[in-house]
Amino acid sequence: MAATMELGSDTDPRNATFSISDEDHTLGNSLRFVLNKDPRVAFCGYSVPHPSENRINVRVQTTGIPARDVLKDALNDLTAMNQHVMTTFDSAVERFKANQGMTELSMKSGVTSQHSGSVKKP
């Protein structure tokens, strides 16, 4: 299997370790952050079991509902957060380009031609 996912415990779905292959601190740390911010999570941590193996273990212990559901929610939350960062960022760029276009236009009407450089409108 290219990427395996396993529950650490069959007996108690509230506590589980997810072993995620082909991932590192990039996802591990962001996921731990989102999970820890969830009030249903009693404990969450992650580890890189071996530095030369491309794998992380994410431990999730919840206050009641299955750990897998909480992990799913966390992944969806992280996606939603990213999506929000992206739209906010895009609109900030749009706004900046519009403002810069305005100042450049007013400069252009002055004397010399300005390099159109970074503000080419689509």
Partner: protein, 359 residues
Amino acid sequence: MATSDDEEPKLPAHLELQRTRVVCAADAPSYTESVQYSGAYMAYGVDNSLRLEDFRKNHRVDIVSLNEEDIEFDIVGIDAAIANAFRRILIAEVPTMAIEKVYIANNTSVIQDEVLAHRLGLLPIKADPRLFDYKSEEENANEKNTIVFKLDVVCTRKGERIMNGSVKSDQMKWLPEGSEMPFHTKSKFTSYGSTQENLAGISSEGITIMYPDIIVAKLRPGQAIELEGHATKGIGKTHAKWSPVATARYRMLPEVNLMEEIQGKLAEELVQKCPVGVFDIEDVGSVKKAKVARPRNCTLCRECVRGDGWDKRVQLSRVKNHFIFTIESTGALRPEILFTEAIKILNEKCQRILTEISF
């Protein structure tokens, strides 16, 4: 009448400081960790969880500067974990095109083949990586996964002058029809179905090396280089030549507080102490008063808190959820596009795991 916001329990000031600031004293910074656990302040009745609505309300992005190569922006209301994920992805996981295979027909220069090949690999290529596919070792090179550059230079003496004394990157010629090697056979190293010029999204200038004046090699009269470089798509994790950024970095917003009024000689001393001009002197009547004029300039060198009693007068800190993000692109993609690509990659990671645990 009190609103619901007023009724919300607040953390005591010292805990709020620990939660939101890194305090930088003369000896060492403190409260560097971010308090993530949702129940950390349960005893005070303060909820430390993060709901999406709250995140949306507090999140903000301001662009400070933007041009073809660099972007600087403030990203407010996210944790270091997320900011660091973006940074790591920008450096190691956003793909670009880079020369991976070099077929050398002739090299009589003093630069060894392998050194030359390494130098060619590091040249930034102005081609949108989103138009191309990854190429596995077994796959044949085609117009969707390989860009071919040709370099054919001979150094000659023309009277007093030496021609082609230094080989520059603009002498790398793009071959939109694919490889011409090996020369005397019908089957070539690449098998293009069509010319790359017709590929959707290729600009009218074609594919070039980003900067025309990078010195690739130096030659003396009589020496020559003839080779082909085959560029493929890859990520910085495999080799730094595929990294789309010169660097991507962030720093937390510095905050400088004067704990007491600083006047007269002390004010002048404070302005003198700071090497980056954070402080200014304000004339109030006949009294000279120090004020914090440009806190953003602060590099946290901590010169201003060094010396007798100064740590009592000035407090340096950093805002934990306010990041000043800087991306320097190597040229393949514009810096603002790089950032959105990085976010998409983090989302793909989440989606991959979601599909794998919902069996």
